[in-house]
Symmetry: C2
Subunit: 466 residues, 2 copies
């Protein structure tokens, strides 16, 4: 690689881009607006998205270093982007910045002996799962978007998913990272050692840092043996409160491998599309799974079923047939597109301590009524992590205003219940106005000290994360 000389103060953006083009292999820096336009927004579809100077698609760590040295010299913001599936606007382009897409960084090496994989950030989560499955191994974190989201984006947001209630979140599976820092230095943190306490826990600091502290160019992932097949139990409840009480009664006693919630609107939206015979009059539905081996799985499901019945389930159905179980889980996964069929969504991600789950969901119902909006709630109930889906009409300013009001009110509600504004999607740009309400001025200042220490010129994803 050629190195980049700092340009003089008088250079123009075009000169700077030309310099980057010449420092990288042909075609790696894209300025054609018909292509770069596709990199302005992520799935948050932020209408305030800027227009990037260029999109850079490196293949290797050294090329990322070149980009960051160049960006530092010119004080050009760098928005790192995985697959662009983020829902909080963490990869929204900014005017005068560049988008650094990791999509071409797709190598993976699986080591079945140490049960680890070393992979680049551009691989999709599903591709990681598939590559390790060939060795009889399993990478647990499973965001609902696992077929389209990248492992780098998962690391940037510390992504969760459905199995987290038993298996934890992304950070629990990241043993090490290679990171390119704001000044272009590449460092390796951690590695394929299951225990390692030498130095501060910097690997963990970079997980969830939303591209604001460095660019992750490689990760060492911890893998598990393949997941045993699951038994699944589905139940409907007359009310949200009954269902939430049932959630508490389950999690206080055992560790389900999945414990998901759908409200009446989600049940009906799914039933509209899939015609599975779901009870349209139910107030809420829970889908639980156990992946304990042998008889223990069936025991778990029997226990969960009886707990559901004790807590007023109107119907309980369980199965140890993997295909049938997968259908119920697929129904839950299908809830987002099913509700989206009613109109564009503002997708929320608030979480609360488990005992506040019912208050959160019923409070969201009140907000929906007050703002005259359809808001369907689905949840990783066992984690207390909900995804209120705010159906709105972006072409109607008045409707949009109410949707945005509701978006904020839902975060305020979660905070009033001791919760978080984001359980697994990240703060990005969309939730940043509420971050201070959650963390308070002293923790915000502490975050800023970390940011200033690692990115003193503020070129890394400015405006996002913190």
């Amino acid at each position: 690689m050629s190195t980049v000389e700092p340009a003089g103060a008088g250079d123009t953006a075009a000169d700077a881009v030309a310099e980057l083009v010449s420092a990288l292999p042909d075609g790696m820096v894209v300025t054609d607006p018909t292509i770069t336009d596709g990199y302005r927004q992520d799935r948050a579809l932020d209408p305030a998205a800027g227009t990037p100077l260029a999109v850079v698609r490196p293949h290797r760590t050294e090329q990322v270093q070149t980009v960051l040295r160049w960006a530092g010299a010119h004080r050009i913001p760098v928005i790192t982007r995985g697959a662009g599936t983020g829902l909080s606007g963490g990869a929204t382009a900014v005017d005068g910045g560049i988008v650094l897409s990791t999509e071409k960084m797709r190598d993976i090496t699986v080591d079945p002996v140490t049960r680890t994989a070393v992979c680049q950030p551009g691989l999709l989560n599903a591709e990681v799962k598939k590559a390790v499955a060939k060795h009889g191994l399993w990478y647990p974190p499973d965001p609902s978007s696992f077929e389209i989201c990248s492992i780098g984006g998962n690391i940037a947001t510390n992504a969760g998913g459905l199995c987290c209630v038993k298996y934890g979140v992304t950070t629990d599976y990241v043993l090490g990272v290679e990171v390119v820092l704001a000044d272009g230095t590449a460092v390796r943190l951690g590695g394929p050692r299951l225990k390692d306490v030498a130095g501060f826990s910097l690997t963990k600091l970079f997980v969830g840092s939303e591209g604001a502290l460095g660019v992750v160019t490689e990760a060492t992932l911890r893998l598990l043996p393949e997941q045993p097949s699951s038994c699944v139990v589905v139940a409907t409840f007359a009310s949200v409160r009954h269902a939430c009480e049932a959630v508490l009664a389950v999690t206080g006693r055992m560790r389900p491998a999945m414990l998901e919630f759908m409200d009446a609107a989600a049940i009906n939206a799914v039933e509209d599309k899939l015609r599975m015979g779901l009870d349209r009059k139910a107030g809420a539905m829970l889908v639980a799974a156990s992946d304990e081996r042998g008889a223990a799985g069936a025991e778990d499901i029997a226990l969960i079923g009886s707990v559901f019945t004790e807590h007023g389930a109107t119907e309980v159905y369980s199965t140890d047939d993997p295909t049938e179980g997968e259908e119920f889980i697929a129904a839950r996964r299908y809830a987002i597109p099913a509700v989206e069929a009613k109109g564009p969504l503002l997708l929320e991600d608030v979480g609360v301590p488990l005992p506040a789950l019912a208050d959160l969901v019923t409070g969201i119902e009140e907000i929906a009524a007050q703002q005259d909006l359809l808001i369907s709630v689905i949840a990783h109930a066992g984690d207390g992590n909900t995804h209120p889906l705010i159906v709105h009409d972006p072409t109607d300013p008045e409707n949009t205003r109410r949707a945005q009001l509701a978006y904020g009110q839902i975060m305020d509600l979660a905070l009033s219940l001791g919760g978080t504004i984001t359980g697994e999607h990240g703060v990005g740009r969309l939730k940043r106005p509420w971050l201070g309400d959650q963390l308070g001025p002293e923790v915000m200042a502490l975050n800023q000290r970390i940011k200033d220490a690692l990115d003193p010129t503020g070129i890394l994803n400015p405006g996002a994360g913190i």
Copy 2:
């Protein structure tokens, strides 16, 4: 609490201590040398330990804040100490500093509904386990010293233990912390939310920071339902290499709940004391456990037993009787005191990626021969984390010199095999000279930037951690 006024530049240490005495309740600041002498060293027994100005034993967070404000104003080093069981000298007193002992901070509240506990740092690990067990819950991390080490110390070192091979280390169970920063500010990070990605992952940064970034005054711990009883299998092998190959063959296929190693010296030392009928001619012994429920546990043990046999085990014995199983585990736990009966120990803590385990253990044998020392190796084999026990005679300078040489050579060997100088004990003061060899100058500088950002005057555990 009264607040502390910065003292003038001309004040003496005695004046400063008098000021602290007057700012805190009677008896909280101890200066009586017959008491403070007991706080000079931790279990590393560093002969270079200093003499503290005072030992402070606060009960509450606000008192810790008072101490740190005072220390900041006077630039007085603060060595935070849990139960003093650290093996790397992380709590060694320094001349002119104070020791902040968390031993009186012993509150715990268990919430079975959210399966969390909120506890102060001074509780022993065993006390946490016991308090949560009353609610049918389990706090997994289990350092061998769990009966005498504090949960605050566990958090400071990101402590491991025997069950980590399946259940992970301390950081995996810390959902939130309250931390008093170097300037006396108290902040709450995380909390009883199973998913929360608002702001950087600061909770994780403080876990493992060895008192060098702040003082943890409270932690929110994630708990699991009580552990099912374990089936245990014990096997002896003719050689270390056979045993290490058996370890790899097991961990590549399954997740044992424990997979421990003892070398010939440890087997013999334990047999000297316990007369269990262990095979004194064996080259190595493995103890493995499965806590899978129902028939799955017995299946696991049968599989492990057959893998051991395939890899040359000379004797394999398995049991599903919990009492008998506990005896074998106790034999492994007893290895340290048994070897210590041969003489004082320098206790090492190096780890390697699993495939290098045999090379590490046989390399340590060579170092022992070269330095004419008894070095017994026990290991959390499933994690690749070994504890070479260097028997030495601190009254003999020549012997001590060789023991210290071996201590460094073992770390050099681990690093040459892609390993770490510390898997679970921490860097403390004893291992600091080798930290740069592991991390390299760029990662050391990155650690220092974090340190400088959070402790700009360097009063927190100077000389330890990084």
